[in-house]
């Protein structure tokens, strides 16, 4: 017994030796490379912004940041992977409205928005409705008239149950028309299909069709913002045309709840400094994303707002 007690005392005495390095570890953050998990395909808007952020933040944090695309299941595979990784701040989720709000609302994917801690919002996108330029429609009213006369005739390409889909769906219901949904695997294939004449229209982010708008091969009938987007000042908002429909998908960073506060603070500081850096903003704008930075608490508030807004629509589909 006595020997046992001595072992116990020795073990207890040794504890600080283990605990001190652990504590130092959290304060040292980051002491090894960080991974950004992008739950969407490489080359998409989210991926490009994620990679830009990774590059700029890696310089500020002094550690390399690897970007990993974990694609599938409406972004839930990547989100779940980020949630299940060790909660040490070395796995950061590049999160969007899709994987953060819409997917967990529509399906039981094993996480909710508030299972994460917000680091910050980097961008919110402008959605536009694009058509090939040989279509007769100049605005939403033209489309409404034509589509009302031909129910179900016109097709649109969109990933099911994500913001572009929901936004156009909401418009169609408000306009009282029936459009045929052709499910897509991503935003880019929808734009390609529209350009190729295989689809009649595509609701997508303005940036992904911007080069086609400038080249005159596509036309945007509306943007679904409160105000016109400075990047395309000629395109009227849906609201101006009498349809109060809005959709602004966000992109930002999040970590799993339970991550040490020291790591969260470091990440927030690095992101804030990056997002307000003019050189970074310039790169982001060139890559097609306007920086609309929100800090952690403000970003968390956006999550709560969107969760409440879309819950009635999506949970009905379950």
């Amino acid at each position: 017994m006595k020997r046992h007690r001595r072992t116990l005392i020795a073990a207890l005495a040794a504890l600080p030796l283990v605990a001190v390095p652990l504590a130092a570890h959290a304060a040292d953050y980051p002491s090894k490379p960080i991974t950004f998990v992008v739950p969407w395909p490489a080359g998409g808007t989210t991926d490009i912004v994620g990679r830009l952020l990774a590059d700029a933040m890696s310089a500020r944090l002094g550690q390399p940041i690897a970007v990993v695309n974990r694609v599938g299941a409406g972004g839930s595979l990547g989100s779940k992977a980020a949630l299940d990784a060790p909660k040490d701040g070395y796995t950061v989720l590049v999160t969007t409205s899709g994987n953060h709000i819409l997917t967990p609302l529509a399906k039981d994917v094993g996480y909710k928005a508030d299972d994460f801690v917000a680091i910050g919002q980097i961008a919110s996108r402008t959605l536009a409705l694009g058509v090939k330029s040989d279509k007769p429609w100049k605005n939403l009213k033209d489309l409404q008239k034509d589509a009302a006369a031909n129910p179900g005739k016109f097709t649109f390409g969109a990933v099911p149950n994500v913001m572009p889909f929901l936004t156009l769906d909401q418009w169609a219901r408000m306009a009282g028309v029936q459009l045929t949904h052709v499910p897509q695997k991503g935003g880019a294939p929808g734009v390609t299909g529209t350009l190729g004449g295989h689809l009649d229209m595509v609701p997508e982010s303005l940036s992904s069709m911007q080069s086609h708008l400038k080249a005159g091969t596509m036309r945007a009938l509306a943007v679904f913002n409160e105000e016109r987007d400075p990047a395309a000042p000629d395109v009227p908002t849906a609201k101006e045309q009498g349809f109060a429909v809005f959709g602004n998908p966000f992109t930002g960073l999040a970590v799993a709840k339970g991550t040490p506060q020291a790591a969260v603070d470091k990440l927030r500081a690095a992101m804030g400094a990056t997002a307000t850096d003019p050189a970074f903003k310039d790169k982001a704008v060139k890559a097609g994303s306007n920086v609309t930075y929100l800090d952690g608490p403000a970003f968390a508030a956006v999550w709560a707002r969107d969760w409440a807004a879309y819950a009635p629509v999506l949970q009905k589909k379950k």
Partner: protein, 501 residues
Amino acid sequence: MDVLLAAAAEVIALQNVAMIALGLVIGIVIGAIPGLNVPLAVAIALPITFKLAPIAGIAMLVGIYKGGTYGGSISAVLINVPGTPAAAATAMDGSQLTRQGHAGKALRMSLYASIIGELVSDIVLIMLAVPIARFALKFGPVENFALGVFSLTLIAVLSEGNMLKGLSAGVLGVFLSTFGLDPLTGDARLAFGSQELSAGWSFIALVIGIFAVSEALSMVERRGAGPIERSRVRLSDAAHRLSREDWRHAAPAIARAAPIGVFIGAVPGLGSAISAYLNYGIARALSRRPERFGKGAIEGVAAAEAGNNSVTASTFIPMLTLGIPGDVITAIMLGAFMVHGLVPGPQLFRDNAPFVAAFFVLMLVTTALHLVIGRIGLGLFIQAVRVPNQVLYPVVLALSFTGVYVATNNLFDVGVMLGFGVLGYAMNKFGFPVAPLLIGFILGPIVEVGLRQSLIIARGDLTVFVRHPISAVFLVLGVVALVWAGAREWRGGAARGASAR
């Protein structure tokens, strides 16, 4: 022309050439290591290129892309383990040539066929980018479905003499491709509640399992014995050089494979693996000695390699002219362009003409350097045939385990690799070919998505597939291929029956 000359001067600057060479070396090595794939290498190198001038950064990425697409063939030829999924078609005949003591022939042919494919692809990109892009856009769901169906009929062509087992393997491949997420609705299929399986079977784990692990298992069974070259292997030996006869068989295969591959590269969403298999199948269908395929036909290596490398410039056609990335690699490259403030799309040619010209020259310089670096590499790589199997296969297995883990970040996929290793071993043992399984697995989703999207657009009207002219042509070709393969099988069966009597 002036623009191209000015661009040439810029590209040939020492820094750019060095970046291309560095990219090629990285690409060839990563391509040759099973599991480490090209998209991974390009994605990792991307942030490094942010720090370089646009053309230097893109030079490195192009080098990695071209080198990596080719590099997979080296391990496919030497150890029957394709370094990239697309090189699995090269392994069919390349590894047989190595077993027969002609590794040098197969390596040389892989390199030269790749270079010819690249060169054709570069030239088409430079001369015909705009019209080709316009034509590629005509490929919608209907056309993709028909192309997929036509490509599936090549399973019958490849299974000649072993029809029942070949077709069974093809069906198994299609079936395996339906696991995981429904590609249109995102619902889990055949996942049995497993989070990992809901992403489907990992293609990399499948390929490495079927080739590397199953090869190692057979090696254990054969007790590691194998012919080993004791002395230094000389690439200049007659056994390792391409004869006039070899070229006579390979030249027509390359001449067909390069343009087909260029076109497949230009259609968004198809890619190098499809091109390699499609061309391998077509080469066999049109060959005057189809019985040699799978037993060391040099034209099989030529068609597969010309097929997979001829996509490497044409994938940039939709990206540069329309701003549409056709595969993962061009998607990452699109990001690289944007970061440097170059927005691909129609106006790139107008606003950044000098850059576009420099990019064109860059593609050509990369191809030329690829020939030089690849040729130097051959003398080194061929020495692998001297490594005893008892040493080689443990190393290959170790690389496979780490490679699959690095590629997918998922221990589950390591288990998947082992499982497919056992399946591949059993298939070899019982005479089931593995190529049809891979073809079925690659084409399954293309056919499925094409069919379902087409029928939504056409509101269930099946005649849409014959009313679209491009689709009708492919379906007719598919019927022709089936009848052809059936007739040859029937005649071959009769001949085999007669000789047996």
